[in-house]
């Protein structure tokens, strides 16, 4: 939860509000202009599988670049220093490349419309229903939490009452997604991506100038926070103490492997962007194109975080009334003149709305095509599901507005629920990876892997860690360990259940498991897709190499 300190009110003027108003008008305009393209449910939920790779790629990175992520990662930078790069270079890039190079042929090629639908094809209805229902709940919860976070930030920065910004932002998201569907959500994400860059780049440049450049920044921080604050791996030996509360092994396995692969490869709010691409090559390139901006965005959140730690050395501690989350708002207030300030406010609001919209647009797809069309009202014509999709979008937004108001009074329950749902992503990844690579994995093993992995991660977190049975210094570190535990438990149970239950008939696995081919799938490659710079392998390995090289200056 984000509590911004009092006294961060921005000196906005008419110029800034003009910039904001133009943005809101364009957002609605995109929604109504996209309306003409929505003819089938596939247009509404997956943009008719027809978007170019650069659009879906930027939407893929923007769907993750919500404002909670931006403020939160700047906070992580202010608190832990350069170690924040782990969340990007090891905690995102390898998983995004894996999604593009290894998993996407199965996802896109099998023509599933959602992540749960893949589980239905590969395993059975129980795995499908469990993952659909949990995803739908989590999406509304996260959308609501985003909305609530927006209202707190807007109240602190602009002085609007919380209910007003919840209702206004909720209304805009409702309007543009209900009318324009996923195309409208994706187009707005692409726009948001550029606006947020236009906000963060000037902020980082001015921040660096303020503290005397990179040299001045590192000089002051080494004095006040110690040398390890400016290295990625300093103090992460096993048994060493460091503020992160994690060692290199839990960082690599817990964050870099389990948590990040779970999030990037099975979170439908992300994968949906790739599934809307126009052909397999574009779908594969979606997360790969997203990986390149992702590598460098960390500088734009880390630098403001570090600068804030120099300007207010006591930030986040009892000695200061500023919390870590205030890093970016503080610099906006201190450094940006009207004009760029309006761009920055617009960027933050856009990021909040896009974060919420990504969840709403994936919620309506799962609720309509996975829950309603499979278990409640199957066999209706497509126009019915399109109408229902619009209706459930409106209901979903209203439910998130409700969730936001609940979050306003019970914020502890909300963060608890978020932790709970985060444990579900981990076994999802186990089930996917075993299901995609092991033909024998039985139909029933899917649902039991999900249940066992989630259960084990929760037991580890809420009992072994919270009750102090094993000593882990921080929540962050405990999260990493819980993820590893959930992964191993899910895998063991899947193997055990498989040994005693029936496999899926081989004919039904075509196109879903490694080493099989899906009949009738060979689409002709798109024109120009054989250009060298569009080769998925080159893009993927290129991203990995650049991310590894980025570590070099911060590792020795």
């Amino acid at each position: 939860m984000h509590y911004l300190a009092e006294g961060l009110r921005l000196p906005t003027n008419g110029l800034d509000y003009t910039i904001l108003a133009i943005y809101f008008a364009v957002v609605l305009g995109i929604g109504f202009a996209a309306r003409a393209s929505v003819k089938t449910s596939l247009d509404f939920f997956l943009s008719g599988r027809s978007l170019p790779a650069w659009v879906t790629g930027l939407a893929f990175v923007a769907a993750n670049l919500g404002a909670t992520e931006i403020l939160g990662m700047a906070a992580t930078g202010a608190q832990y220093g350069v170690a924040v790069v782990h969340w990007y270079w090891i905690g995102a890039i390898p998983a995004m490349v894996f999604l593009g190079l290894v998993m996407m042929p199965f996802y896109y090629g099998s023509k599933v419309r959602s992540v749960p639908e893949f589980l239905l094809q590969r395993f059975d209805r129980s795995a499908h229903l469990l993952s659909s229902v949990l995803f739908a709940f989590a999406a509304i919860l996260i959308a609501g939490v985003n909305l609530y976070a927006l209202s707190i930030v807007v109240e602190a920065l602009l002085g609007w009452p919380q209910w007003l910004s919840i209702v206004v932002a909720g209304f805009f998201v409702l309007a543009y997604i209900t009318v324009g569907g996923l195309s409208s959500a994706i187009y707005n994400e692409v726009l948001q991506f550029f606006v947020i860059l236009a906000a963060l780049i000037p902020l980082s440049v001015l921040g660096l100038k303020r503290v005397g450049g990179w040299g001045g920044l590192t000089g002051s921080l080494e004095k006040s926070h110690g040398d390890d604050f400016l290295t990625a791996w300093g103090g992460t030996g096993i048994g060493d103490a460091n503020p992160l509360g994690a060692n290199w092994l839990t960082i690599v396995l817990g964050l870099g492997f389990v948590l990040s692969f779970g999030y990037w490869t099975t979170n439908f709010a992300e994968v949906q962007r790739a599934l809307s691409a126009k052909n397999l090559s574009a779908a594969q390139r979606t997360p790969l194109i997203a990986a390149f901006p992702k590598i460098f965005i960390v500088f734009l959140v880390m630098i403001p975080g570090l600068v804030a730690a120099v300007l207010v050395p006591k930030i986040g501690t009892a000695g200061s009334d500023l919390t870590y989350n205030d890093a970016i708002p503080l610099l906006m207030q201190e450094l940006l003149p009207n004009g760029v300030l309006g761009i920055a406010v617009t960027g933050l609001l856009a990021a909040f709305m896009a974060g919420m919209a990504a969840n709403v647009s994936s919620f309506n797809t799962v609720f309509t095509s996975d829950i309603w069309a499979k278990y409640v009202k199957p066999g209706r014509d497509d126009a019915y599901y399109l109408r229902f999709g619009r209706l459930i979008t409106a209901i979903g937004v209203l439910a998130s507005i409700g969730t936001a108001f609940i979050a306003a009074s019970f914020s502890n329950i909300m963060s608890y629920l978020q932790t709970l749902f985060s444990f579900f992503n981990v076994p999802m990844f186990v089930v996917f990876i075993i299901g995609m690579f092991w033909k024998r994995a039985s139909m029933k093993s899917g649902v039991w892997g999900l249940v066992a992995g989630t259960g084990a991660a929760m037991v580890n977190y809420f009992w072994i860690y919270k009750q102090g049975i094993v000593d882990i210094p921080t929540d962050q570190g405990a999260n990493f360990v819980s993820a590893i535990v959930g992964f191993v438990a899910g895998a063991v149970v899947m193997v055990a259940v498989t040994l005693f239950t029936a496999p899926k008939p081989e004919a039904e696995l075509a196109g879903l498991v490694y080493g099989t081919r899906s009949p009738g799938l060979e689409e002709p490659p798109g024109e120009g897709d054989d250009a060298w710079y569009r080769k998925p392998a080159l893009l993927g390995w290129g991203a990995i190499v650049i991310a590894a090289l980025c570590y070099v200056p911060y590792s020795f």
Binding site: A36, S37, G48, K111, V190, A198, P337, D382, E508
Partner: protein, 92 residues
């Protein structure tokens, strides 16, 4: 071919997005050109207080020009490589 393949392929055949969705480059180009002009003007007319706040850098001017350049880039790209609509689908 599985039932799912059949259903999705059928929907994809009827889909209207490819043929009727407008090009996002026009919107990015237009918005950034407008923002670029507004922010550049704010930079040209910057007060001393603005400059002092921004560490002596005329940040509005530079950001405005960069946004304008990005907007123009998208409009030029759109002009040079317009979207070719796919061959018309079967009549309704």
């Amino acid at each position: 071919m599985s039932e799912l393949h059949h259903e999705v392929s059928e929907l994809q055949r009827k889909s209207a997005t490819a043929a009727r969705l407008f090009d996002i480059r026009r919107i990015i180009g237009g918005l950034f050109a407008v923002y670029g002009v507004i922010v550049t003007i704010a930079g040209i007319t910057a007060s001393d207080a603005d400059l002092e706040k921004a560490q002596g850098i005329n940040i509005n001017l530079w950001t405005g020009l960069a946004m304008l350049a990005l907007g123009v880039f998208f409009l030029v790209w759109l002009k040079l490589r317009p979207l070719i609509p796919p061959p018309a689908g079967p009549a309704e």
